[in-house]
Symmetry: C2
Subunit: 385 residues, 2 copies
């Protein structure tokens, strides 16, 4: 039987200058325990997604540290790092632990404290997700990498800056109703287009912010679920994960994300479902172009057609396939190692009918989490009872 | 059915100033493929144990990076960090992936490049395994942490510096015959006792060196094994993992390692075996005191009696329970995120009867890998056909 989700919780994503990673993680974990009869002693394992604790807080070994801080000192613990896909990868490892029989209950969480460092230090830390030899040392930063992808996409498919901006407008506007989101400010296409350039053709509102926060999901076996009162009816229908060259130059094209295509195929197969069965989606929109490429890789749009989602309103809250109802990384924020877990939190609420931007009749929900410029991708499909 | 091991390989542990992590990892992987009919395209996943690539080489995202560099660009990939237990934790995640049915073949590897940084930087990086707030900021380094444990152990049980030195002598002497070992130099107790103090009561030869290297193990399902020619008859009989407070001050006593006791109990249970069934052991002797505490936690000696192993020759190559026939961390070296994988490499060779310090009639072999001063511990039990 596929694992179930027992509870989910998340801090607000924001700048939290007075909170360390351990404080943010504990805040989310306490909230995850609150609505169930589960406590730390029920956990067989604590898996932590974290990208840059070593670089920002001089703190590694976060698996054991945070297991202890949530009260599960004896649990098996690890930290998983797949750059900005750390959260999605952590969730998938928790699913494997339950499916293998090694654990009945795993707390899969993510935490990141980024804003206490200055922006140059954060930019340097983020660059660890790229190939240090072939990208960073040549002067590429992540806005530059995604700008190359956007520029090429615009060239190949005739997309306009307005088409990218429509993604940002949709996601920022979704964030307004989400109390966990970093931004609560409506934007227009003109607001986006007149924001300052960061790496042509991308402007400020094409990019997600620097964020701190933590999210937690408790994954349990069917047998464990039967014995406890759970806070949600969500279950894991399927997961997929694939990789790609880290350096952009090593890919056959930079306007496709094949790791996402493969991860999606694996997840659809395992869930015995197809793109047309999915009711709501969270994708990794670190930059506006990333959402467009994701919608194509996940099978929702043909290649070169992904801009239609936001431009034509098809991925809006009242569209045929609402995407990033949370606000996405653009509007909700992007604490880098947390995001993949945060997506599961949002989709679980959609399945339970308690999301601030609730979509009607959600039976299947999909999350897409990316590390680097596409070198690590996880796809997760959740369903209800 | 328990997973099988298809192949193992390791670089020499040493200072490799001209090799990056990616070069070391590829060297080990090529060797692991060489003796089998397996190639990169057979791998469903590549899991990488690495502690300090972010800090030493400005390179995170090593899962995807190294999957690509070994030729398995499309595999699911993650990096796992549990400080110096990263290798053992990585191996255990690979076992879960196979047991869950998510993968038929996983390359579980470890890599570390430490020596290219100056020693102050390496000391700072290692300190990320401790609690930054409650240990590092108070001035504790790892030699200091283990010195506290050694001093207290000597006080409680009447152990002498000579008893600690006997561990170093045994392990250095074992390393002489191991071509993968960093040191090939016989030591006497007097050599150890007259080496320079590093944190009283510990002296230089009570401590492992700074090492670079990579080790790789390919873990496969029983069904996959039946279809391929494997290079080894080793199989995974059981694994265990547990955690503890990261900060030494938060433990009830510092002369026991309860996470190791729990991990061992879990592994013995799963393997349906007991300490007296084990024929050869690799323990995490980052400092001499650590081997003594490990032998007690694993059930081979009563509390306070662990010194007898080396002093009375019971853990020597010709003793009743040979321990660290590889040379251990003291003699073979300790590329921090690699060590737990390297232990599996050594024990697999013992099971196959092809170890440079071969023990006769090995049916069951145990590995013990520690992160920090005991906050993360994995125990693995391997058997033959």
């Amino acid at each position: 039987m596929p694992p179930k989700i027992a509870s989910v919780a998340s801090t607000k994503y924001d700048e939290h200058p007075d909170s360390s990673s351990r404080e943010l993680f504990v805040e989310a974990a306490i909230d995850a325990f609150a609505e169930t009869d589960l406590g730390p002693s029920d956990l067989d394992a604590v898996y932590v997604g974290n990208f840059m604790g070593d670089l920002i807080e001089d703190q590694g070994h976060m698996g054991a540290l945070l297991a202890d801080h949530v009260g599960a000192r004896e649990a098996a613990s690890i930290r998983i790092e797949s750059a900005c896909a750390s959260g999605g990868a952590t969730f998938r490892q928790a699913v494997h632990a339950v499916e293998s029989g090694a654990a009945d209950a795993v707390l899969a969480g993510g935490v990141e404290q980024m804003s206490i460092a200055n922006i140059e230090h954060v930019t340097d830390a983020l660059a660890n997700a790229a190939d240090d030899v072939y990208e960073n040392e040549q002067g590429l930063t992540f806005p530059g990498i995604y700008a190359l992808m956007a520029r090429r996409y615009m060239h190949e498919f005739g997309a306009r800056k307005e088409d990218l901006a429509a993604v940002s407008v949709k996601n920022h506007n979704n964030a307004v109703e989400n109390p966990l989101a970093q931004f609560q400010k409506k934007l227009t296409v003109d607001d986006v287009l007149t924001s300052k350039p960061i790496a042509t053709p991308l402007v400020l509102y094409d990019a997600c912010p620097v964020s701190d926060g933590a999210s937690v999901v408790i994954v349990v076996s069917e047998a464990f679920a039967a014995e406890h009162s759970l806070d949600t009816s969500a279950r894991v229908l399927g997961t997929g994960q694939s990789s790609d060259a880290v350096a952009l130059q090593d890919r056959a094209t930079i306007t496709r994300t094949p790791a996402a295509e493969r991860a999606a195929e694996e997840a659809y197969d395992e869930a015995d479902t197809a793109p047309e069965d999915i009711d709501v989606v969270e994708v990794h929109d670190c930059f506006t172009i990333a959402e467009i490429l994701a919608l194509e890789a996940l099978g929702f749009y043909d290649r070169g057609e992904g801009t239609r989602g936001a431009v034509d309103g098809e991925t809006a809250l009242d569209g045929k396939l609402p995407v990033n109802t949370s606000g996405g990384l653009l509007g909700k924020g992007h604490p880098v190692g947390v995001t993949g877990i945060g997506q599961i939190v949002e989709l679980t609420k959609q399945i339970d009918g308690r999301h601030p931007n609730q979509v009607e009749g959600v039976n299947a929900a999909l999350a897409h989490n990316v590390g680097g410029s596409g070198a690590s991708t996880t796809v997760t499909i959740l369903g209800g009872e």
